[in-house]
């Protein structure tokens, strides 16, 4: 009985993703079941549709920059919190992880009204700011474990031997955190790359990320082309997930 519940649940969890990939391989323009022949023609179709290609480039740039900026900002902040243990440490940590408590819809509304108020509606920088804020909580949590794992004695040794605090940070601490930084980067990249709701609320017509473009396309019609481009998005997620798993980052992220 329990085995059956588990089996059924796992199928239901994976079904929507599997069915998208499956349908993207249909040779005809209709989804006819059962599917006996497979074709990659809809992938060619999707890749020759400029709307999807532009959106993919925008999404990749956005996710890359958001992850990189977040990692630098959060590494510095976490280093300050972990090494100096200031009196407000708990409050700082709470503030930095607070975006988790604000749902994507609420944050999207706030961002929309904010970017319009300060006059950066439909500009990349507004989108970048939003994505940085959205991934900060996850970066803080993952980097905190990383920095804590670096023995403080190594930094003392470096400073006793004459290196400054900053030089020690760059030459000793940073290399020791490399693995955690890479997994943190990949995780932030993935979160930003698959973010939909906040982006839909705040973005302008000329700045549609790939998930938003898929959303607008789907509101119009559902055809194998949109299944193919969705399957490509899933592929990107799977590649990043596998990399994360190889680096051992997933175990740490799921254990938190």
């Amino acid at each position: 009985m329990i085995r059956a519940i588990n089996f059924a649940m796992l199928i239901v969890v994976l079904a929507p993703v599997v069915v998208v990939i499956w349908m993207s391989l249909t040779p005809t323009s209709m989804f006819v079941l059962p599917l006996t022949q497979f074709s990659l023609r809809w992938y060619r179709e999707a890749l020759s549709y400029p709307g999807f290609v532009d959106a993919f480039v925008l999404s990749a740039e956005l996710a890359f920059l958001a992850a990189a900026i977040t990692l630098v900002l959060c590494f510095l902040a976490v280093y300050g919190i972990v090494r100096y243990r200031p009196r407000g440490a708990a409050a700082l940590r709470g503030f930095f992880t607070a975006p988790i408590l604000v749902s994507a819809v609420v944050f999207g509304i706030a961002m929309l009204q904010f970017v319009n108020r300060i006059g950066i509606y439909n500009q990349f920088v507004g989108l970048l700011l939003a994505h940085v804020v959205l991934v900060v909580p996850f970066a803080i949590r993952s980097l905190e474990a990383t920095v804590r794992a670096v023995p403080e004695e190594l930094e003392w040794a470096s400073m006793i031997l004459g290196r400054s605090r900053l030089s020690t940070l760059l030459r000793v601490t940073l290399p020791l955190c490399a693995r955690g930084l890479v997994t943190g980067f990949l995780f932030c990249f993935l979160l930003s790359f698959s973010e939909v709701t906040t982006t839909i609320f705040m973005t302008g017509p000329s700045l549609q990320t790939l998930p938003v473009r898929i959303y607008t396309y789907m509101s119009d019609r559902i055809d194998p082309t949109v299944a193919a481009v969705s399957a490509l998005v899933v592929l990107v997620s799977i590649v990043v997930l596998v990399l994360l798993n190889l680096l051992g980052g997933l175990r740490r992220l799921t254990s938190q």
Partner: protein
């Protein structure tokens, strides 16, 4: 020296603090302030203050949308609650390698964007979709079932989408239990059901409650799934927020909606934490 040591952590945190102030605190304050101004055809009237936007949220139309959102969210959380223990207990008994593999399977849909999942569920549940085709092929049903563009479709698609938020904390709590506890209960003659109700459940209840709260919040604010699986006839709060903010451009009302959703979230999180600490303290147990 003392002085610079006291200032140093704040210097390290300063860049992130600035970004968070500009990109997180300011936008939320902006929406809060807008929600207290009246909306006019010329835009927001910043000279006037009103509570009218909040009052409008409780009229019959907006109130009805809120009730539907609550109804769907409660259904999803209740069904997830029933499924959580069987799945978590089963998982915790698997060998470690299998465990991490199954957890990966449960986590992976969370990292795929919800629009793709909405597409998948549409392909599965629509009239000529996979589920109806298979059921008709097997002669289980004569005519296709209406599985989407109703509340049922939203519930069906949201359960697996947000199940991970209940499962992960519960699985961590269950696998963190000292095996000696259940073993001891067993040697003292407790049947498996008694071990569950009197040992496992009380010890893992805080994690369970915490997971349910997150699950409920995610259900309340889901956007893409209700949009495609429920359709315009089954408006929920997030779709309403989209219409108000991006189609009627009534930002004061939209801001009020955001503030109310946020307040609801924070109250629930607070209540969840209180419940969890009450549950642990009341029994003299530590998780």
């Amino acid at each position: 020296m003392r002085d610079s040591a006291a200032r140093a952590p704040w210097l390290f945190a300063a860049p992130l603090l600035l970004v968070m102030a500009a990109g997180f605190v300011w936008p939320l304050l902006q929406a809060l302030i807008n929600s207290f101004h009246p909306n006019t055809p010329q835009g927001i009237d910043a000279g006037q203050w009103t509570l009218g936007n909040y009052a409008r949220l409780f009229d019959s139309f907006y109130g009805g949308v809120l009730v539907r959102t609550l109804r769907i969210s409660i259904m999803v959380t209740a069904i997830s609650a029933l499924l959580a223990y069987p799945v978590a207990l089963f998982l915790a008994r698997l060998p470690p390698r299998a465990q991490s593999l199954v957890i990966l399977a449960y986590v992976s849909p969370w990292l795929v964007n919800t629009v793709v999942k909405a597409l998948g569920w549409t392909l599965l549940l629509r009239t000529n979709g996979v589920v109806n085709t298979v059921l008709r092929g097997l002669d289980v049903i004569a005519s296709p079932l209406k599985l989407m563009l109703n509340e049922a479709g939203v519930v069906i698609a949201l359960i697996p989408g947000h199940f991970i938020f209940v499962l992960l904390p519960l699985w961590a709590a269950v696998s963190g239990l000292d095996p000696a506890l259940t073993w001891a209960a067993g040697t003292l003659g407790a049947r498996p059901s008694a071990i569950f109700w009197r040992v496992v459940l009380p010890l893992t209840l805080p994690a369970f409650v915490a997971g349910l709260v997150i699950n409920f919040i995610m259900n309340m604010t889901a956007f893409a799934i209700p949009m495609f699986l429920g359709g315009q006839r089954n408006l929920v709060a997030s779709m309403l927020a989209y219409q108000v903010n991006l189609i009627s451009l009534d930002w004061p009302l939209g801001g009020a909606l955001a503030v109310m959703l946020l307040a609801l979230t924070l109250i629930l999180v607070w209540a969840g934490q209180r419940a969890a600490s009450f549950l642990t303290a009341g029994r003299g147990l530590r998780p």
